[in-house]
Amino acid sequence: MFAQSSLNVRNKRVENLFRTLFLLMTILLIIPVVIILGTLVAKGGSSISIDFLFTDPTNGMTAGGIFPALLGTILIVAVALIASVPLGVAAAIYLNEYAGDNWFTRIIQLAIINLAGVPSIVHALFGVGAFVLFFGFGTSILAASLTLAIMTLPVVIVSTRESLRSVPQAFREACWNMGATRWQTIRRVVLPNAVSGILTGIILEVSRTAGETAPIMFTGAAFFLPFLPQSVFDQTMALSLHLFVVSTQVPGVPEGLPYGVALVLIGLVLLMNSISIAFRMYLRGKKKW
């Protein structure tokens, strides 16, 4: 009675066929990247050392280390975070805790989506027009960081909103019933319960900001500087732009050097992302509601 008919068998076969096909596609998507990462490690691994990370480039950037670029990237990311984290978290609080489900909220969401979708080079043009020229910051860390802050603002907003949303509504209602104001509720109940999720998003933003090149090319990152930046109004070198420069603009660079720079950059970015993912999984396991 339950013997498989030929139709059953055929259906099963079709299913297995597609399952294998899609598995294959998934693997084919991942394999090239694994090969690429392997090549980067194989060719760049030997150039990386403590010296490489902490000495200046020498001989017209054909030798030496990447210290000024590494430091510059850290500075740019730090200033960008100072600008974008408070703004992004506040925006997410508005969207999740105050805004109603109406056309106005819809427009804000569209603006956020577009902010994330505008090409990075257009953000660069905006940075030049607004921060470098109009506000008179010149090509500086400040201008570059603000450009990046606006570009990566959607990352903070979306991830913060996600973690605010995961705080159960009952927590808020309990707090309101005690006579607390909206802000007291947010400050004492919602934010403490969401803070680790917000942190995860911020780590993700660090990774995004560190890797961007086009938005900082004309707003604050320099090809080469013989000195370190003294204030946020100075230019700086940056890791991402340094990779572009040593791989396209400077003749006579030994093969291992750009691979080394690429490896440091990608290592930094993937490390940040892995921390963020690990943190997220740890939190998911810990949640009791």
Binding site: R19, L29, L95, L115, L243, S247, N273
Partner: protein, 309 residues
Amino acid sequence: MSSGKSIESMAAEFDRRNFDWYVDKFVQIIVFAAGISAIIFIIGIFVFITAEGLGFVLDDFSFKEFFLSPFWEPSDEDAPEYGILALIAGTASVTGLAMVVAIPFSLGAAVFIGEFASGKTRETLKILVELLAAIPSVVWGFIGLSIMNPLIIELFDVPVGLNVLNAGIILGLMAAPIMTSIAEDALKAVPDRYREAAEALGATRWQVIFKTVLPAAKNGLLGAVLLGVGRGFGETMAVLMATGHAVNIPHSLFDPVRALTATIAAELGETAVGSQHYQALFTIGIFLFLITFVINLTADLIVRGIRKG
């Protein structure tokens, strides 16, 4: 009996506007300002790039020449020419090839991760896809330059490996992880009761996916593809480094091209602020902004259209 009290004093007794009330209102104004900042920035971006590029559009500008002339020769001192047709062709050919590479693989991967895989396998694959999406574009450009370039020269026996093929594959690999996660979200948005109903009728897993889930997620998947197109269109560093950067309307996969974004990235540094060339680059920026705006808007409308229905 409340005989001696006026209405005002009674109201004052119920007035709870203490310090905390004012703090609450103050914070509300602050977060509202932050909330609308995204709108302000989007308008700001448009206003500032338009302000810088407007001179070019107003000053003896011909739409026909700008969009239909294949000659981009801004540094010709006697008669500089600003035609972006070849640049549009460059961007379109690279993005087109990238989509040919990315669409089947990312949709296939999304179906496998979202519908076939489960438990540990699914988690691992999702994390891998997320990590792939994080690789910076300048690193992709470097990969095109140093790994793909010699590979293409060797495999196809062509003199230069920086061309449509190289940039298209690089851009496809870049866009695929992002499209995979958006497409997977679209599949996840299909309610489980659809799947259960189909399974109750005796459908196999594949029949459930093909006849029920995919049709229901159609709009979301289309949105994922559109966002992928938008990404490819706006990508800068990777196409700057991998296309060969030659102004050229491509006739084969092995022709070098130049993209709209890459042109701005390569030339903005060497132009004088306010010059015609500088303004022309900002005009390209306006064009890019408008195109991506329309793409993102359309994708959003398509995706939301189905959520409401």
